[in-house]
Every structure is written in structure tokens, then in C-alpha cells.
């Protein structure tokens, strides 16, 4: 692994009641975050291949951390998302290099498959900056019950020369979905959309 990881944080957010209603089983969202050294901090580099390789490594590592923390089999994962917060000595494109070229493939392995686009967010930030990681159903992006987000934040990161990378995985949709649209049981599962 070429990623130089200072810290890994894993959170599970379980909702048992919402608006007076019991949620049984509880909806559960996991988010796994890694604080990595930014190999391109403080300089412009045309080539961002190191970050792309790190993104490939972290897609698998953080995806597996989420699945492990949820205590589920990979195929029981229902939705996913990804995000990065770049410290101030880096640039937004560094987040893109991590997230887009190669992270999706290893993340999909960690959750057994995934036809749908992995929704993403990115920003520049300082210590304790929060980012809302978008969530979408892993087989069909239009499943409305699974449109959601979970906040990722590490109180002491990213330092200027660091990047916070976050992967979110759930075993459920929102707690009380009732705004219609495509339902999970209606997924055709061919094009990643419906």
C-alpha cells in the first residue's frame, strides 16, 4: 500500500425511532474515513497517478471497514457514496484523482457488486471540516428510498498537507421513506439507473 495513513475513523449511525415511529430493524449507515498524506501538497503536478493508486487502495480498505463494522455480508450492502476533503496545501483536483478513476472498482468488490454510479462530494477544508457524503442505491441510482447522505468529519484533520477520504455504506434506506419513485423491489439492475 502506498497510502501513508495517519488515522482511520469508522462510525455506525443506527436509527431506532424517527418521528415517534419504531424503525425495526434499525436503519444503519456506516462511514469509514482515512487521513492520508497528500503526496502533491504544496506544488503543482500534472500527473496525479499516486493519488489515483491511493484511491484504488482506499476504495477496498474503507469499503471493507464499513461492511465489517455493519457486521453484514458484502452482498447485504444496499447503498454507497464517497467523498474527500483536501487540506489547504492541496487542490480540489487531488480529490478528483482519489475518487474518480479507480476507487469505484475496489469499493464495488468490497460490497460484492454495484451497477450504479457511486455518488460523490469533494471540497477543500481545514481541521474539523465536515462533508456530507451522498448515498445512492448501489444497483440502481434512481431508487428514491435510498437517496440520503451522512456527514463525515474528523476533529483533527485534514492538516494542510493531508486529505480526508470517506466511504459510506448502508444496509438500508432512509428510516421512513414515503415519497414514491422507484422502489428497491422494482430494480431491473441492468443499466445502473433503474
Amino acid at each position: 500500500m502506498i497510502a501513508e495513513i495517519r488515522k482511520i475513523v469508522v462510525q455506525i449511525d443506527a436509527i431506532h425511532h424517527e418521528m415517534g415511529r419504531t424503525i425495526e430493524p434499525a436503519t444503519r449507515r456506516a462511514v469509514a474515513m482515512a487521513v492520508i498524506a497528500n503526496p502533491y501538497a504544496g506544488r503543482f503536478s500534472d500527473n496525479l497517478d499516486s493519488l489515483t493508486t491511493i484511491g484504488e487502495e482506499l476504495g477496498g480498505l474503507l469499503g471493507a471497514k464499513c461492511v465489517e463494522a455493519l457486521g453484514i455480508k458484502p452482498e447485504q450492502a444496499q447503498s454507497y457514496g464517497k467523498a474527500a476533503i483536501v487540506g489547504e496545501a492541496g487542490e480540489l483536483e487531488h480529490a478528483a484523482a482519489l475518487l474518480h478513476p479507480k476507487m469505484g472498482a475496489t469499493l464495488r468488490q468490497a460490497v460484492s457488486r454495484g451497477a450504479a454510479l457511486v455518488p460523490s462530494a469533494k471540497k477543500m477544508g481545514g481541521l474539523g471540516t465536515a462533508i456530507d457524503v451522498p448515498l445512492g442505491h448501489k444497483e440502481a441510482a434512481f431508487v428514491r428510498s435510498h437517496f440520503d447522505a451522512i456527514e463525515a468529519r474528523i476533529s483533527d484533520a485534514p492538516r494542510a498537507n493531508e486529505i480526508v477520504v470517506a466511504i459510506a455504506v448502508t444496509d438500508s434506506g432512509r428510516p421512513l421513506p414515503r415519497v414514491g419513485g422507484l422502489q428497491a423491489h422494482e430494480i431491473k439492475g441492468q443499466d445502473g439507473l433503474r
Binding site: R6, I8, D13, H17, A130, I150, I154
Partner: protein, 206 residues
């Protein structure tokens, strides 16, 4: 009547912090239960009986956190607790957590084990007072939860804190009760003071 709306579990591994990487990463964790505040919105003089109802919550959260840390109870070295009371509650509602949170966690860590029964204090007893913080605050507020060594409060290497924050909670009529644990001292602790292997009084302090 206890209604837990949500449970947030947080586990973190620190692999390095400037300087050389420690032989073993430091693992720390926090767990927060967000529940309905039964006393929100009005002054209730007699709130103490609620502590009895919270006892199983303290034990359950401690056990869940140990499970999240993927360790044995004997591996836990430091602990702390906290409460965040939503805007329609009062600070005293946070204080309800002292006994059930503290004693529940100490029970899960061995305080009521064999060592307690023969009256001889020894490591693993969870002898130290559980350090704490509390506040009244809105959803997403952060709270710094103190950590100290679980057998002797004066062990300097284990004096630490961990920040806890629950996005979206507590709402006005909720309260968040929090427990935290660490599996080791600060990374690169090097400021002397009482060492773990120097604990000798077993009075919870030294």
C-alpha cells in the same frame, strides 16, 4: 420509559502523529445514545428515579462500545463519559448520566468481577472515577470528552480527550448520553508523571 432514537458508534485508529509510527496504533472509541428527554420543556423537581431506568442503558452502551472496539474488556485502558442535553432540557438532565453511565461502564470493565469480591484491588477493576463533561447544546454540537486511566486518575500518559459530535442530534427534546474508551496512552506520550506500572495504592487515583 426510555426511548432510544439513535445510537452512534465511533472507532478510530491513529497510526502516527508526527515522529515515528508507534509499534501499535492507538485505538479509541465513543458511543452515543440519543434518547427522548422525559423532562424536556418544564421544570420537574424529582428526576433522580430516572437514574435507575438508565442503568441498563449504561451497561448496554459499554458492552456495545467494547464490541465495536473489537477488544476484550481487559484491553480497555482509559475511559470517560459525557452528556449533551437538547435545548428544551436543563443541565441537570445531563447529570443523570453520572451514576448509570459511570457504574455501568465500570461494571462492563470488571469492577464487579472476582477482584471486587475478594476486596483486593488490582488491575482491571476500573477503580478510577470516570471523568466527564456535559453541556446544553443544539444538534451537531461537539463535546470534548475527557479520558483518564481506568485504575488511577493520576496516570499522566493516559490523560487525554476525544471529541464527539452527532450530526442532527440532540434535538430540543432529546438528550445524548455518551461513553468513551481508549486502548492505550497518548501517541508519543513523554511527559513523565505517574506511570501505569507504578500504580500502587489502588485507590482509584494512584
Amino acid at each position: 420509559m426510555i426511548t432510544i432514537r439513535r445510537i452512534l458508534t465511533h472507532v478510530e485508529d491513529t497510526f502516527h502523529e508526527f515522529g515515528p509510527a508507534p509499534a501499535k496504533p492507538l485505538r479509541r472509541g465513543a458511543i452515543a445514545a440519543i434518547l427522548t428527554n422525559p423532562f424536556a420543556g418544564r421544570f420537574v423537581p424529582d428526576i433522580a428515579p430516572f437514574m435507575e431506568e438508565l442503568k441498563p442503558v449504561g451497561l448496554m452502551l459499554a458492552q456495545k462500545l467494547i464490541s465495536g472496539l473489537q477488544c476484550a474488556a481487559a484491553d480497555v485502558q482509559g475511559y470517560g463519559k459525557a452528556a449533551i442535553v437538547g435545548a428544551a432540557g436543563e443541565l441537570e438532565h445531563g447529570a443523570l448520566w453520572h451514576a448509570p453511565g459511570g457504574y455501568g461502564m465500570r461494571e462492563a470493565l470488571g469492577w464487579k468481577g472476582a477482584a471486587a469480591q475478594d476486596g483486593r484491588a488490582r488491575p482491571g477493576n476500573a477503580l478510577a472515577i470516570v471523568p466527564s463533561t456535559k453541556k446544553v447544546a443544539g444538534p451537531g454540537a461537539t463535546i470534548d470528552v475527557p479520558l483518564t486511566h481506568l485504575n488511577a486518575s493520576y496516570v499522566r500518559s493516559h490523560l487525554d480527550a476525544i471529541e464527539v459530535r452527532i450530526p442532527g442530534a440532540p434535538t430540543a427534546h432529546e438528550v445524548a448520553y455518551i461513553l468513551v474508551m481508549s486502548l492505550g496512552p497518548r501517541i508519543h506520550e513523554r511527559l513523565g508523571g505517574l506511570r501505569v506500572d507504578e500504580i500502587n495504592r489502588w485507590d482509584g487515583q494512584r
